[in-house]
Symmetry: C2
Subunit: 456 residues, 2 copies
Amino acid sequence: MQVWKDYQQQHKDRFLEELLALLRIPSISAKSEHKTDMIACANSVKDHLIKAGATTATIYETAGHPVVYGEKIFDASLPTVLVYGHYDVQPADPLDLWHTPPFEPTIRDGKIFARGACDDKGQVFMHVKAFETMVATNTLPCNIKFIIEGEEEVGSPNLGTFVKANKELLKADVILISDSSMLSMENPSLDVGVRGLSYIEVEVTGPNRDLHSGVYGGAVANPITMLAKMIASCHDENNHITIPGFYDDVLEASAEDREKMSKVPFNEAEYKADLGVDSLWGEKGYTTNERTGIRPTLELNGIWGGYTGEGAKTVLPSKAFAKISTRLVPNQNSTKITEMLLKHFVSIAPEGVVVNASEHHGGEPYLTPIDSIEYKAAEKAVFATFGKEPIPIRGGGSIPICALFEKELGIKIVFMGFGLDSDNLHSPNEKYDIFNYYKGIETIPYFHQFYTEMKK
Amino acid sequence: MQVWKDYQQQHKDRFLEELLALLRIPSISAKSEHKTDMIACANSVKDHLIKAGATTATIYETAGHPVVYGEKIFDASLPTVLVYGHYDVQPADPLDLWHTPPFEPTIRDGKIFARGACDDKGQVFMHVKAFETMVATNTLPCNIKFIIEGEEEVGSPNLGTFVKANKELLKADVILISDSSMLSMENPSLDVGVRGLSYIEVEVTGPNRDLHSGVYGGAVANPITMLAKMIASCHDENNHITIPGFYDDVLEASAEDREKMSKVPFNEAEYKADLGVDSLWGEKGYTTNERTGIRPTLELNGIWGGYTGEGAKTVLPSKAFAKISTRLVPNQNSTKITEMLLKHFVSIAPEGVVVNASEHHGGEPYLTPIDSIEYKAAEKAVFATFGKEPIPIRGGGSIPICALFEKELGIKIVFMGFGLDSDNLHSPNEKYDIFNYYKGIETIPYFHQFYTEMKK
């Protein structure tokens, strides 16, 4: 619609400046030292919702970081879209690998470099600015609600309680989420699912203190060596996960689904070149897209133990630790898998060490049907601004709250992400193309328009 | 001798105070930030040598940390004893496990708690105070030289050059070293050997940046997982080291030697209780004393990669690292083994990652004959103050410079250590019993006396 385009063109510099200001707040949910930053960020999101046209916007306290809720309800007979996103970000470590500081957004080559630029502040803010566009141009076709949480990156531990306690408040016809990627701007795509997550930490204790590796080396189990043996045992020679029962509940993708996936544009040479690796890795019998889309995985997210400083220290350490997460696919249950992982790692403790395992967080996998009005509205919206039909793909990431939304609110989710896999999410030098940011702001109003029309 | 006893009794409080002052200098050779502390510590050792009675004491610069040399030569016809020790200490990490700060020596239960209390400042200082005793009481029976270096804990990288360039200066009849332990004060013992060392660092690189473990997990080799597999492959099910050729040059201990070792007092229940472990670990077919004394070992000294902070981060890291050292036994060659290790770890790099391996430092194993005048003098000295014949044992630690001393100077080494294995060397809460400290000062003059008599 020309009126949206004109408005957005006129305000584009401000749209960018406002996002940069939001990115300057180091809202790292995992680190308790950022508690006041979290509150500042929630307040900023609330203020932006009000300025954009929300009739109410409120900060709801939780047992953890607050939830921001806002809405504009103007006609009960019209459908209501609930926009979900998060204002928290991943930790920025390792800091020395950032080319510019993570919380001083810097623009290079048309890209915004900052922690949260894409995941998810940049994508949340597209919705705020699309909302502002529709309100300012008197074209908002439906009611709209926002739920922007502050704990997505730590597994949304308190959002379930909030949703259960506020079903009426959150009542809507569809949930719209921009927290995912497209294949590329040339090959627009829509995610039709997210993987579940089960994240644990393993602590291996050997001797009750760090020992001299000469005096005791060879006579006492070394917790690093034992942890390495445990980790090494988790995948067999075909890179299948060996934890007993792990695949039991996996709903295998149909031959038809796999056939469709094989048609998705994928250039292995480019993929490898982008990552700087000579060869790819993964479960035997599956393609790269299948490995990240329809198969569960087990990844080591962190490991530490002993002396890790400059030079050498001849120590046989008392403890070694690992952070381990699995991604889950439909029909696997995060609670069940977490329980299985915790038990497994304790059970395979080699002699001479004691293993403790604890849960970080989890979330269920989610699949959205592609024959629904919701999905079709998104498809039309992307077509309207990209001139191409989007390809449905299974995303590899997780949005822990999806399954719970559907269960508690009884409505479907549509994923409409505008990031790229190469945006360095969760990594140093996270970025978001300004082009993609504006493209998202341009596309979102079409979703509201088409969805409202199709619902009528 | 009563005159020594009287003098030491009279000055015991000062002997302790002076050691505590030396322990307050954080002379960590591995960390470049402690360069000025290293110089301060070298100067303190030099001043103490002069005050104790050295006719000259000099600081020799090296490419690394300086060497302190001192001497008192008063009769060329008498034998000369060269005392070797080191004023540098291991890093104090992990700091949070220390009950009192590592460089604020604290006395509890008759023990000095401080980094370097036993290894090796406490033991070096026994020699300085024994020397002072003999000079002050006009009983020094022989010439004496001191070489106290500042790089033992990083593998003495520059001492070889110094020794080769100063053979005349260091000319002596025997080298005396207190940098090892006794079984206990009730079971005095003398080390008859040290193991060699080969210490390397391994870097495993997967993708060129940290990745989102959901977006890429399952499709790209995870460097932590790959490093774990490499480490796990280093020991077989009998805990033999699997690196091809690793045992090739090992000079097996004789049945007679092993028979003698089996007689050394060892209480497995106490050993396990002290370490807080349920079961011991090690190479099949060998006892605990054999595992630490006559067998080569491979230990993980440190590991790190990915996210190691508070909470969870869903990252598939770009890199993982490990610090790995082996202890070597007679006839193994440190240079050869280091070369072997570096090649091995590069060669077993799994597909999808690149491995770089680099050397930290090394040192050769060393065995001293027990039928020599040198050893017998030490045996008599221990008997004089402990009232018991010391048990000859093979130490598990390494003093990298030993083999070079013998080769370059053509003289034998005697180890006369007064520490305990439980002194937390290289660990938090390093300690040294004040009793042992005084016992060492009391015993050392006897060595000089007996050695001089037997040499005549």
